[in-house]
Symmetry: C2
Subunit: 212 residues, 2 copies
DNA sequence: ACCTGAACACCGTTCAAGT
DNA sequence: ACCTGAACACCGTTCAAGT
């Protein structure tokens, strides 16, 4: 008895936004094309009119998440260190809003025009602060590796079937004194990350020069 | 007409070694329980006698790869920098032999006794060189993040269905001058990685002290 | 142009049964 | 103890068909 909307009730944007929402809620493995169709209120195969396959859907989600990072505005007195720092922190902030997408981001290097343009722009901004393009690319690759690698460990979302249980972590720690000592003060992932990022950025200056 | 071997022709070790070999050959998605049974020459369900499910098989593969890294022998004049450097390089070497396992390693933080013992040992070795346990854990986490993050980008193995094609990379680069300039000299992943790792290690000294 | 629905060729896993 | 085989409840995707 529902009136049918004569206009298409599906479009690429709605599909991608919904996919991201489903992944945020149910994880990557929780997004099946069949359940996804139900979520959208259409036949599961309707999605294939807009995207060739599930891989393309994942790539589109990766792009959507990257879009959420926006563009960096760089002041005239910015250093390359400040630009790199800001880029990394922003990536971290956005990915912590979408923890289930981290394995996707780390694993699907989308080479769409939009993604390439974003990289090109960022490298250009780094070059403007005095780096060579090659050095900019190098440090960006390293900082990205650190950022997503750290998030991967931090969120610890298994990509496949569930992980074997290992009992109470607290109990297990008893047999590993150095590990236990290291974790005695508790651990603050943000602080740890900041220390690592700072080391990576500052260390580049100390050991490799600033690109000229 | 074949004579049946009266002894079990399956054991956990053979299962795990074969699984790693299959993943090396066909990728993670190429390992299905049904094909895996055929590979082993048994009914697919035979594996379930030794491991509860596919996730446990993946965890066992992760452990097997970690085992391949072996233990670090640390001389009396070793610095924490040399220990961390060696641990990272060894991880990189082993994972480059098993590129398809990288997403698995990055995504399945196995907490088995063996893995915990290995971490405990390494932290202990770092403490012996003068670091506090907390600092050792922190820098280890950061170096691991960098190492697997870098490998993840480097090997670029899609975890899900195949990636959307983006035409010839060379052609596409035309519209992205900074990117093109950065890649003009070609790129040497080993050198890039070494620079990043060195920055991370040296930077830690410069900005956070050496733990006392 | 946009969506449906049946069909195909797969999956992982449970469970009772065989030896 | 160790392995089999049928069965269950799913998958992603193709393709012809509907409107």
């Amino acid at each position: 008895m529902r009136t049918r909307d004569p206009r298409p009730n599906l479009d690429r944007d709605r599909i991608v936004r919904t996919a991201l929402a489903v992944i945020d809620r149910d994880g990557v493995a929780g997004l099946t094309m069949r359940k996804f169709g139900a979520e959208l209120g259409v036949d599961p195969m309707a999605v294939y009119y807009y995207l060739p396959d599930k891989g393309a859907l994942f790539d589109a989600v990766v792009e959507a998440v990257h879009d959420e990072m926006g563009e960096l505005e760089v002041g005239p007195d910015a250093t390359w260190q400040s630009v790199v720092w800001e880029a990394s922190q922003r990536m971290r902030t956005v990915l912590r809003r979408h923890p289930h997408t981290v394995p996707l981001i780390g694993t699907r290097p989308v080479l769409s025009p939009k993604m390439l343009a974003a990289s090109d722009r960022l490298i250009g901004q780094l070059v403007d602060t005095g780096l060579t393009a090659a050095t900019a690319l190098n440090i960006l690759a390293c900082v990205r590796a650190f950022t997503i690698g750290y998030l991967l460990i931090e969120v610890g979302v298994p990509a496949g079937p569930p992980i074997e249980k290992a009992g109470e972590v607290g109990d297990v720690m008893a047999g590993y004194p150095a590990l236990a000592a290291g974790m005695a003060q508790g651990y603050d992932p943000d602080r740890q990350f900041d220390l690592g990022l700072r080391a990576l950025v500052d260390g580049w200056v100390a050991s490799a020069g600033s690109g000229h």
